[in-house]
């Protein structure tokens, strides 16, 4: 089993095929989308492949150490500030192929017009400790 992080970039990634802001959808389309995400997570809990999923607030801030006193805080000029990660899901699956399959499925969440969003998801494997080989 290997863990993978599925990163949802609503912005910053290449545009989704069905790229309509959520507040322009019909209310029942929003409901269907939320339902799809919940069902997806529930199903992965059922198969024992779900680890964690969290949504992030769209606002972030850059901070660094800058000598004595309060650290400076800025929301620019870094381009990354708006390179938004909307949230993530961590899955624990048998194979890389399974991770790709699930990411594809997550990307098919319904959006405007009830059609799949086709958003890009980033799939990244977790680094783990080297396995101990015992003879």
């Amino acid at each position: 089993m290997a863990k993978y992080l599925l990163l949802k970039h609503y912005r910053g990634a290449p545009e989704a095929v069905n790229d309509v802001p959520m507040d322009q959808w019909k209310p029942e389309e929003v409901t269907a989308h939320v339902q799809y995400m919940n069902d997806f997570a529930d199903r992965l809990v059922g198969t024992g492949e779900f680890v964690d999923g969290q949504a992030l607030s769209p606002e972030g801030t850059f901070v660094r150490y800058d000598g004595e006193g309060r650290p400076p805080v800025t929301d620019g000029p870094f381009a990354e500030t708006k390179d938004l990660i909307a949230g993530w899901m961590v899955i624990d699956v048998e194979t890389y192929e399974r991770a790709l399959e699930l990411a594809g499925e997550l990307s098919a969440a319904p959006g405007a017009g009830g059609k799949p969003i086709h958003e890009w998801l980033e799939v990244r494997p977790f680094l783990t400790a080297a396995p101990t080989v015992t003879e």
């Binding site: 802001p21 959520m22 507040d23 322009q24 019909k26 929003v30 409901t31 339902q35 919940n38 607030s57």
Partner: protein, 381 residues
């Protein structure tokens, strides 16, 4: 094995040990050891007086621990000289435990964790689950909190207001883990109310009961938020409402109005309406006036603006909103609602979308997005 009984007895036993001079952390360890023995031995040999049994065993465990520490031999002599414990204490030391766990030297997060552990008798794992943090993280937070209060003398007078604030924090943490913290907060507040005649405690208990009564109607089957006006009032728990109203009336009769009572009065007026249209908004505005007078809280003013909007029309609500800081949480959502009621769906849709972006929780964000979507999807013209 009656786990609920053990959980109920734990704080009282802990309280006895701490009052007898045991250090808080050491007392907690001793009580845990005694509980382990109870779980092992009680099924075969149930004691006649469970609390007395636990006190005796926990005290012996504490003495064992002290004895094991050779460098504290002189202290051992002193504790040994203490009279032996007996069952049926006249005073309930649990009350003191509430004050200790809400000690001002603790951060709110630590006070909450310690209260759930010591007064609530929850395990560290249960508390960690409720807060969705690793068990080791919560264990650290709790042991740090124990260290912080270890030097505090047990008879220092506590501040009821701080205890209530901690209990309200527990209540508002809600329903995330497998332990229902709202129900737990009510259980603890009920017990506190039974120990003290303080009218603020009654106000808080009434408020919690009235809020909790509406909980089954507050979320839909898929976790979505259902606003008050759209809730199925048949799902409200009338038994809890009746109890909350009784507790509130008893508190109000003592004529020492406070913030919790005023909030509970507002909740009672909502609970009293069979349909959203029957809500007595005029009286609710009057209670918000009281609340603003008592607290000066900007959040109370914001909620008051909503009530004014219902009582005197959206224009009046917007006027009440005018003096408030737009950075307040939910300000934009309230403005959106009032603009919609005022017949300006375009502004309302824009504000709902703004509010969704600033929302602090996922159900709230989805709800606000749905509101914006509803207005944007309406037929134009």
């Amino acid at each position: 094995m009656d786990e609920a009984l053990l959980r109920n007895l734990t704080p009282a036993v802990l309280g006895v040990l701490v009052r007898r001079g045991a250090d808080f952390a050491a007392a907690e360890d001793a009580v845990q050891d005694a509980l382990v023995e109870a779980v092992r031995g009680w099924p075969d040999d149930p004691p006649r007086d469970p609390k007395g049994w636990l006190v005796t065993v926990a005290w012996r465990k504490f003495l064992d621990a002290v004895r094991a520490d050779a460098s504290r031999r002189h202290r051992e002599v002193r504790v040994e000289a203490e009279p032996p414990p007996g069952p049926g204490e006249a005073v309930d030391d649990t009350l003191q435990l509430y004050f200790l766990c809400a000690h001002p030297s603790l951060t709110p997060a630590s006070a909450v964790a310690l209260t759930l552990r010591a007064v609530g008798g929850l395990t560290t794992r249960q508390i960690a689950r409720a807060y969705l943090v690793p068990e080791a993280t919560m264990a650290q937070r709790i042991s740090r909190a124990k260290r912080t209060v270890s030097g505090v003398r047990f008879h220092e007078p506590g501040d009821v207001a701080t205890v209530l604030r901690v209990l309200y924090l527990v209540f508002n943490e809600g329903y995330s883990g497998d332990v229902d913290l709202a129900a737990e907060a009510i259980r603890l507040t009920r017990r506190l109310a039974a120990m003290t005649r303080h009218e603020e405690v009654a106000g808080l208990l009434a408020l919690m009961l009235l809020h909790h009564a509406r909980r089954p109607a507050r979320t839909g089957h898929d976790g979505r938020l259902v606003p008050l006006a759209e809730q199925d009032r048949g799902l409200w728990d009338t038994r809890l409402i009746a109890e909350g109203v009784d507790v509130l009336q008893a508190a109000l009769a003592r004529d020492r109005l406070d913030e919790f009572q005023a909030q509970a009065a507002i909740a009672a007026l909502h609970a009293d309406a069979l349909t959203a249209e029957e809500t007595d908004w005029v009286q609710i505005v009057e209670w918000y006036d009281e609340l603003v007078r008592l607290t000066g809280s900007p959040v109370a003013r914001l909620n008051r603006a909503v009530a004014v909007g219902e009582a005197d029309g959206a224009r009046a609500g917007l006027a009440a909103l005018a003096g408030l800081d737009p950075a307040l949480p939910r300000f934009t959502a309230v403005a959106a609602y009032l603009h919609e009621r005022d017949g300006d769906p375009v502004t309302a849709a824009r504000l709902y979308a703004d509010a969704a972006r600033a929302a602090a929780s996922l159900p709230e964000r989805d709800h606000l997005t749905r509101q914006a979507a509803r207005l944007n999807a309406r037929p134009h013209g």
